[in-house]
Symmetry: C2
Subunit: 566 residues, 2 copies
């Protein structure tokens, strides 16, 4: 239950009914001299600062970083000059500020925190897999039940997080037990080049993106993004009175030269908008195009960001779903016989994040448990420079507050007390292999069933999406219109293919939904996900998409027998 | 596990891996002719529409209302004319709109919903009390374990909500199982006078309030509220560039005559703001004053709202914590030997809500599980007219999405499958009795330990807070200044009392933190909560507050022995 014994509690425990909120400087103890790695994370933890395990305790990554991390230079900039009036005008909560007067033994009649006596949950448990036997069938036979009692922390000393803490109000950054795990994870995976990075838990990246946009985007502003981008991000930006500015891209993502050109030649009068400074990007397995920026590309884009003083929102739900290359006709098995050989190899082969190359503090990285654990966790975290994360917390305090305690306890029990960092990375390797297998099934099905006279694609190297380009010039309407197709005609063709597939019982996503600047499409695309449907259904569905394309483009139908093209 | 057998599933179940989102008209079956009541809710349910139990299924209260509810006139107004540009400009998600093409058997490659195969939670369980043995000690002996498996719904037919649904993405309003429970609850408790009320789950009322404010409040607007109001609400309004407009109040809450006067005489030029139309109110156990509006007061305020076309945000976290009157020297026991005798009596004695008197659709009621189950649920719900709730959902889609699936499953298992409506109301009676006992302890302690020469109060009739008025004119500084005290001096005295109490180890909240219009205080108040600290600590703390007041007001200290004043 509690492999990480908490022998050195420095903050005196109090009962949870004292509505304690501790803000202020925290004593750190022994700090490990080297960067935290998988191999010595537990040693680092055992010799480091204990988790503050009282209700609504303040926690900070600085409590848990290695000496190596703390010894780096601070982030060069605060990015206060990029904040909106809304964000700048947020004040800390009066009630929480009062807590600087809190001392051990203080009785608080201040904050309206209900007594945990009245939480009608004495214990919650979950049946979960044990690393590395992750498949559903394995959980039935070899899974374990992890449990969290109401008073495991202070009264029973069994854990660093219990229901009395998780189910009460808390600080915006989240409970210390999760901040510690994520601090260790951040050093292990990203090792940011500056020392004062901070972390705040989020209610998922959809919520985090909305908060981040309100921190940096005013009405009439443009937000820089890829030419095609996550439709929900567009739908979040539009009501703010802002617009997306789509930058041309290839299979490696946004083109840095294009980005520099657009910014260097920005004419505020002609554009009727200030020069953009906020970038929203999904660097890995981009939604919808599956493009994945190489390290070289990331460095180039970061250099342009430095030149034009951009602030980067790095949205990385698919970061760990980086795949082995697709080989035609082959389907990867699970577990993969290919590399990575182990977690060290897995980590070494991940394209480095923007967070890991950011020296200025100009990146707010958004991580999420949605795609790697479950969307219903409604839990993620942001990592970035201290002032930016502090503003993010101030907004969280008056909106989401923090993720659900049920989710936080479940994640703590699974990730920290059951899997640990090594098991978590092995899990990520496992689902990466599963999604690779699904990617292979879909791309092989496309090779078999789609009319390559009109359809083409680059096999995804990451994520959950396959992006299919369809050659408009081969469509009868294009021919009829003498080589000129306007936007309305493009939409008409796109809709015809969509409806034709839907009538055969397959739903695919239309490329125009993802166009950063609506109405500027000149090419035809469709997005298909290999995340959701079972493998055999994927093949059947792609065959039907092939049929719809053939029908709409006036191509002869392929005869299909037993799910395979003849 | 599933007392409410789901024999009549009308929407064909599909595997959860098909990423289904069903939007559109829903067939209702037999509709019960009478309003839903505690006595026949289960009969109504068994003869009514089944819960749509597929991933991300659309649900609506209209599926579950009684014929009596559906037969009422519709809400008179839509309140579109009060929406901000931001709210009006929200469009439904492209991906979700596409789902109108979804038919039974359709394979969706459209939405990026991960397969539930990769959720590493096979089952979650919770140990919970059985009604009416609610105390912690009883749960240890007579509590039960409720469990939710991954495929209880479609594959095993055991429940209306399982992990495959709750842990995936869902619709903004929440899963059908919870919409059904809350629809029944709404008819049982509020029975709104119009037919087309809608419900959307929220990530708690702090989040709901922020969304509602963005729906109705522009920069430079005023938001009408009580003279003293929830500090977090003030802190949410300020960054929006808006201000609170505090209306004078008494122990029955906001004064309708004052409200009418302020609005009738509003001068847009002098005020440099449009005439206010949004009201934020906590009608029951108001934070911080504990004032509770009588039905008569609510009707008067509603009439003013009709006259000036106001929209009302009814924030009701403490609605069910309505108490028996305080009797000096007496402490209510738990369970209470006083009324209510049972759930019908309990319901009959609750002051009716604004929702229950609203014919125009001008009320958005915000309920929360925070104060009645646990804050860490981060789950609540809003109820209101259909256009308003629809706009709320559009915003939720690009921010919180919906509450955590872990919380939703826990609440469903506890409220629906274990307690049922009767058990839930019995639970509310139980915690109401517990908070009544705590209220009694605090008010009796105030009678014993506070200097009544300067301190006065009205015993709270609801909620979690006690509001203590302190007579500034008795302070030496007032005397020294010849009867004139400016704001700075008021703050100085307030801070001195606060710090003096803090130095003795007690934190209380300062009245000025809650002043709707900051800087306009003319009286001195302190707020003390009886929710958090254990009973004996409450008495000790109030004794120390008494000591601090005596010290600062130059009154002789009382001698205290064994926690009792001599």
């Amino acid at each position: 239950m509690a492999p990480h014994a908490n022998a050195d509690v420095e903050i005196e425990p109090v009962t949870d009914t004292s509505s304690v909120v501790v803000i202020g400087p925290v004593q750190t103890k022994t700090v490990h001299p080297q960067k935290i790695t998988i191999d010595h994370v537990m040693h680092h933890r055992q010799t480091g600062t204990a988790v503050p395990n009282i209700v609504a305790a303040f926690a900070s990554p600085n409590m848990f970083k290695s000496k190596a991390a703390l010894g780096k230079p601070k982030a060069k900039k605060s990015f206060e000059h990029r904040l909106t009036e809304e964000s700048k005008s947020r004040n800390p909560s009066s009630l929480k500020e009062a807590m600087k007067y809190y001392r051990a033994g203080t009785i608080s009649l201040c904050g309206g925190l209900p007594s945990s006596e009245y939480f009608p949950f004495e214990e919650v448990s979950a049946k979960v897999p044990v690393a590395p036997a992750f498949a559903e069938a394995d959980t039935a036979t070899s899974g374990v039940t992890v449990s969290s009692g109401k008073y495991d922390t202070v009264r029973d000393g069994k854990s660093d997080l219990d229901l009395a803490i998780a189910l009460n109000y808390g600080q915006a950054m989240g409970p210390g037990a999760l901040i510690r795990f994520l601090t260790e994870h951040t050093e292990i995976v990203h090792d940011p080049p500056y020392s004062d990075w901070d972390i705040c838990l989020t209610a998922g990246s959809t919520s985090a993106l909305e908060i981040a946009l309100r921190m940096f985007t005013g009405r009439s502003h443009y937000v820089i993004t890829e030419e095609y981008t996550f439709s929900s991000a567009i739908e979040t930006v539009v009501p703010l009175g802002a617009k997306m500015l789509g930058i041309k891209m290839d299979a490696d993502g946004m083109l840095p030269g294009e980005l520099d050109d657009v910014l260097s030649s920005w004419d505020e009068n002609a554009r009727r908008a200030p020069k953009p400074f906020l970038m929203y990007t999904v660097p890995t397995g981009q939604n919808p195009t599956a493009s994945t920026q190489s390290l070289e590309r990331r460095r180039q884009i970061y250099a342009v960001a430095e030149k034009h003083d951009l602030f980067i929102l790095e949205d990385e739900p698919y970061y760990f779903l980086q795949m082995d290359p697709f080989v035609s006709g082959r389907t990867h098995t699970v577990p993969s016989p290919f590399k990575p050989a182990g977690v060290s190899d897995f980590l070494a082969n991940l394209v480095p994040s923007y967070l890991s190359i950011d020296t200025s503090g100009r990146v707010l990285r958004m991580d999420s448990f949605s795609k790697i654990i479950a969307p219903g966790s409604r839990c993620g975290w942001v990592t970035g420079s201290p002032k930016v994360v502090e503003r993010f917390m101030r907004h969280s305090e008056v909106s989401t507050q923090n993720p659900s305690g049920f989710a936080m306890v479940a994640l703590h029990k699974l990730l920290d007390e059951n899997w640990g960092h090594k098991g978590f990375l092995e899990w990520l390797m496992y689902i990466r292999a599963e999604y690779t297998r699904r990617r292979d099934i879909m791309v092989n099905a496309c090779e078999e069933h789609l009319p390559t006279e009109v359809a083409s694609w680059v096999a995804p190297k990451a994520g959950m999406f396959h992006w299919i380009s369809v050659d408009l010039t081969k469509h009868p309407l294009y021919q009829a219109k003498g080589g000129n197709i306007d936007y309305a005609t493009l939409l008409e063709i796109e809709e015809a293919v969509f409806v034709s597939a839907a009538e055969q019982g397959v739903l695919i996503a239309r490329g125009s939904w993802f166009r950063a600047q609506r109405g500027t499409d000149t090419e035809l695309f469709f997005r298909a996900t290999f995340a959701a449907a079972p493998a055999e259904k994927i093949i059947e569905a792609i065959a039907k998409v092939g049929g719809a394309l053939r029908k709409e483009f006036g191509l002869p139908q392929k005869q299909v027998q037993n799910g395979h093209a003849k």
